[in-house]
Amino acid sequence: MDLAERLTQLIREWEDAESVEIRDIERVTTGASRQTWLFKALARKHGRTVERPMVLRKDPKVGLSYSGRAEEFAVIRKAFEHGIPVPRPLYQSDDALDTPFFIMERVFGETYPKRLLNDEKYAKTRSHWAAELGTILARIHRIPLTEDLGFLKRPSALEQIERNENIWRAMKLNESMVLEYSFRCLKTHIPKNPPTCFIHADFRMGNILFDESGVKAILDWELAQTGDPMYDIAVICMKSWRFDKPENRVGGFGNEEDFFRGYEEGGGFPIDRDRIRYWEILANCFWATVTVAQSRYFLDQPKGDLEYAKLGRRTSECEAELFELLKQVK
């Protein structure tokens, strides 16, 4: 049975519908860690047909995942309940398809950073994005850590550093004195008792969906955990995620003042620039490791995909940025 047929069956059961029709199913290529499918479901119930655009996020057959799809689904549901803009979560199962998955209502808009940062159609609202996202992030950080979120990972700073360092050591193809110094610096400068809260942990361009009116949805909650709220701010300020607009420190579109103002208005935690820079170092180490992994992937394939070769050489960008950050550490 193909995927569309199986989904027809499942959605008919879940909706208790008389009949269901799946239309326009297509796989989109975004990110290697999850499979993403788009489709429309037309459910006939009590003589009425309701059409809903949906998104399926499904684990690949092989590959590592930081969290399970059931956990990610629970996180999205929690965010949804707290009024954070996320796609409406619909169904989740670990065994109804060949790998674990969940289904959400599709939100229409754009995630591709280069179009968001350059297209004329976003010019009007782009200047509001920083404050808007600041407020949304503050509300994410205010999600209470209730018992039903007990599954969230709660790594200490040292555990986070060591996790990243171990992956890098296992992955590296050559020495990098800058990465070596970064890990050393992170260990000797661990923030003393920072506040801890719910964090998204991958809050960056590419995971935020916009349309002409502004922010529509925060996506990709796979890495959500508890941690220092400054970590999320560090990630959206990373130079790698500013694309061709490095002068705009927040995501390539905004400035810190607007973002911090929005964050403060939303009831966020006190801003601490030293801690933001500290977590930027860790986030760049993480991204450097990803680029090394891409390089390895290129070298392991009989006919390596050229894009992975190019990504492999982007490690230098992380090193250059890490060095700039390390120079500022007192």
Binding site: M177, Y181, R314, E319
Partner: protein, 120 residues
């Protein structure tokens, strides 16, 4: 012995320009994207062949960071590995040694980014 012209740099430049300016515009979708990536990879190689790393960092600085005895008889790769070990142990955490290391790293980082992505 020297090779006949065109030189490797001239060939790389010509092939890269062909991919970017002639082939890519004639293609669409994924093939076009791949042609542009291919051109940009050749440009990386070209810059790596053209830029002199010694104009960015003095290899003797590496020996000075390690100390002449530790550096003696080791290949550049072995020296880097040894230096990484010392960084890990905290030998460059602060003071003049940190400054010296950072001086060397500044050159290394600048060379690598000038090769891989000068627009960064």
């Amino acid at each position: 012995m020297s090779m006949n012209r065109p030189s490797r740099e001239e060939i790389l430049k010509a092939v890269s320009d062909y991919l970017k300016d002639e082939l890519a515009p004639a293609l669409t979708g994924r093939q076009r994207f791949q042609a542009l990536i291919a051109a940009s990879l050749l440009e990386i190689v070209l810059r790596e062949l053209t830029l002199d790393p010694h104009a960015f960092c003095d290899p003797d600085d590496l020996d000075r960071l390690l100390g002449p005895e530790a550096a003696h008889g080791r290949s550049p790769e072995e020296k880097e590995t040894l230096l990484c070990e010392k960084i890990r142990q905290g030998a460059f955490d602060e003071g003049p040694l940190r400054d010296k290391l950072f001086h060397y790293l500044a050159g290394e980082v600048r060379y690598k980014i000038q090769v891989d992505n000068p627009k960064w």
